[in-house]
């Protein structure tokens, strides 16, 4: 059974200024032990997708339709108590900004032990030992001492390791990692990536890895979903999508040279800006920035399977780059 199957997920924010369609008709699947990279520009709906999965979309936002099947159980409409049982236990999330994730007035041991005890009836000492071992596992030196520290006594990289350790405490089935390394410098990024990959492989944990950085996805993920203005515009295995992008947006991000050399290259900047999600005109959301746009793009294209396992939402996809 797949760890996660998201089907037709739409999450909207009902603000005073209007409805923000942050996530619209998003579907994807993450198999056991697999890593799915979720990429897209700022504001494309990656974080909201993550929060939807873990059931933490706050008012004025709401999941308006769709199913989120976690090991076969639908999380949409599930009771708060049941969801809480899963959160931090079977599904964990690592947030975007490590400087803001830990509570500044609580010691690290408090914040770890409470997580252990929220899901397991163990005494404090056992919980503390688990916390210490997990800190050691994510590469924090002298974890016994560090447990007694407050978050501000850690660097950004160390804080993110603590957050990762907290996510790993219960060896969850799914970790949603929201750009966990973007705020860190490159060496530390590499270390953390390698460690997370190893851990995922060892424990069979599935990962949703949200990022701006294509090189990270290329090195880490099995599958990739590219989001634009709240919708998935391209989807498939990482190797294929990065080699032969179909959608003009993905194409623009990666560049036109179809080779593996572009691994390690960050997303290219595409001229223009994302349209406002509040008043999306009908048709393809990318049409204002797309070189191939024409009258046919005035109706929203469906996410179509253009090659086995390869989906794109475009009426004029770059099929010519397909190797014959």
């Amino acid at each position: 059974m797949n760890t996660l199957e998201v089907k037709g997920l739409s999450t909207h924010f009902f603000t005073r200024a209007g409805v923000v369609r942050a996530v619209e008709d998003v579907s994807f699947t993450v198999g056991r032990g697999k890593v799915m990279g979720l990429v897209g520009e700022s504001g494309s709906g990656k974080t909201v997708t993550g929060f939807s999965v873990i059931g933490l979309v706050d008012a004025p936002g709401r999941i308006v339709s769709g199913e989120i099947l976690f090991k076969g159980r639908n999380l949409v409409g599930m009771g708060e108590e049941e969801l809480r049982d899963l959160r931090g236990n079977r599904i964990a999330m690592i947030f975007q900004d490590p400087m803001m994730t830990l509570n500044p007035v609580l010691r690290v041991d408090t914040q770890m032990i409470e997580t252990v005890q929220a899901h397991q009836k163990v005494d404090r000492e056992t919980a503390r030992q688990r916390a210490r071992d997990t800190l050691g596992m994510v590469g924090i030196p002298s974890p016994d001492e560090r447990l007694k520290s407050y978050p501000h006594q850690f660097s950004g990289g160390m804080r993110q390791r603590v957050a990762i350790a907290i996510a790993l405490l219960h060896q969850p089935d799914l970790i949603i990692a929201d750009e966990p390394t973007t705020a860190l410098d490159v060496t530390i990024q590499g270390q953390i990536l390698a460690e997370v990959q190893k851990l995922a492989a060892n424990t069979g944990t599935s990962l949703i890895w949200i990022t701006h950085d294509l090189s990270v996805v290329a090195g880490l993920a099995d599958d990739i979903a590219v989001m634009y203005a709240g919708r998935i515009v391209e989807q498939g295995s990482v190797d294929q999508v990065l080699d032969v992008p179909f959608h003009p947006y993905t194409h623009g991000l990666i560049g036109s040279v179809p080779s593996r050399n572009k691994r390690g290259v960050a997303l290219r900047q595409i001229p223009g800006t994302t349209p406002s999600l509040m008043s999306l005109p009908p048709g393809c959301a990318f049409k204002t920035r797309c070189e191939r746009a024409d009258g046919a793009c005035e109706t929203m294209p469906a996410l179509a399977e253009l090659a086995p396992g390869r989906f794109a939402r475009c009426v004029h996809p770059h099929l010519e780059t397909l190797p014959a």
């Binding site: 809480r84 931090g88 007035v105 929220a118 407050y150």
Partner: protein, 324 residues
């Protein structure tokens, strides 16, 4: 920590010196005490003698030094009215004012914190709106009017509570206190509520604002993502963070409460320092006025110091800066 404390105490010393100068200039140099001290028909020689006896012939800076020298020995002059050392008069009245001030502070936290917390957690509920409307009344109704109304309703019409004096007192540390006897408690209740009114509103608004702000923080969302119970999220993660501003403000308000209990003490004939200073101003009993002002200054300084110390205990970030 020790160095930090020493530094703070030294700063406090400077403030005390500066304030003593201001009080001295304000009360001694402005206006002529001779006019009040000596009968108008005294002759020139008598006047000269009195001026010399009071040291008023010395240059201003010497007068100040004499004043400080005596003040350091606890001598702030004798009351013209009671013919007792002014400082002693004040100290006699201080316990009554202190217990009134602490009583009202206690009430403001006891009532304000839960109401503010509720209003912060359910900002749109009808009850919350009622609480907030009530807090506006608490801010804007004049203290003396509310005091009179309290007397009218609870003392005169319902006859539940007494409206004047301290009632029975009991001794503790050689000082008599009202809060140690049932009768004394019934006497302190109305004036304490009266004095607390403003602070209750303040605590409600601070707590509500703090809760609303803190609830939006990433670390609260992360705490929820860990699967913690709403109770733990609210009372550990949120509460510990809002405690810092609330403690600071309530602590700083203590000085103001003591200083401005004047109105309440007058309305309820509460025999504290506030009533003493009003009486002394009426008869121009200068030594008592000076002694009162110096006591209040000293009290503000001590309170600020204590608030700072409590603050460092509550907020680990301040603790670190202090160490550095």
């Amino acid at each position: 920590m020790l160095i930090y404390l020493l530094r703070r105490i030294m700063q406090s010393g400077f403030v005390l010196v500066a304030m003593s100068l201001l009080v001295f200039l304000g009360v001694y140099a402005v206006g002529d005490p001779i006019e009040i001290l000596i009968s108008p028909d005294a002759d020139q020689i008598e006047k000269e003698r009195a001026i010399q006896a009071l040291g008023l012939d010395l240059p201003l800076w010497q007068q100040y030094l004499v004043f400080v020298g005596k003040a350091l020995q606890g001598d702030l002059g004798r009351s013209f009215v009671f013919n007792e050392p002014a400082i002693q008069l004040i100290l006699q009245r201080m316990p009554a004012t202190l217990e009134l001030a602490f009583g009202s502070m206690f009430l403001s936290i006891l009532i304000g914190l839960p109401l503010g917390l509720y209003a912060g957690l359910r900002p749109n509920g009808a009850i919350s709106k009622g609480i907030m409307a009530g807090s506006i009344l608490g801010f804007s109704l004049p203290t003396f009017w509310v005091g009179l109304m309290l007397i009218m309703v609870f003392a005169v019409q319902l006859g539940w509570l007494p409206s004047t004096g301290r009632g029975d007192t009991a001794m503790l540390f050689g000082i008599s206190w009202s809060f140690l006897t049932g009768d004394g408690l019934s006497h302190i209740l109305l004036p304490a509520i009266n004095l607390a009114l403003f602070k209750i509103s303040l605590v409600i608004r601070l707590t509500r604002a703090g809760v609303r702000e803190t609830m939006l923080m990433d670390y609260v969302k992360f705490a929820r993502a860990k699967g913690l119970s709403p109770f733990r999220v609210t009372f550990v993660h949120v509460f510990k963070n809002i405690l810092i501003p609330v403690v600071t403000v309530v602590g700083l308000e203590l000085g103001g409460t003591i200083a401005f209990s004047v109105v309440t003490e007058s309305v309820f004939a509460w025999p504290g320092m506030g009533k003493l200073i009003i009486d002394s101003i009426n008869v121009l009993d200068r030594p008592v006025i000076v002694a009162y002002l110096m006591m209040i200054v000293l009290m503000f300084i001590v309170i600020n110091l204590l608030v700072d110390i409590v603050y460092t205990v509550l907020d680990p970030r301040v603790r670190l800066e202090a160490k550095a």
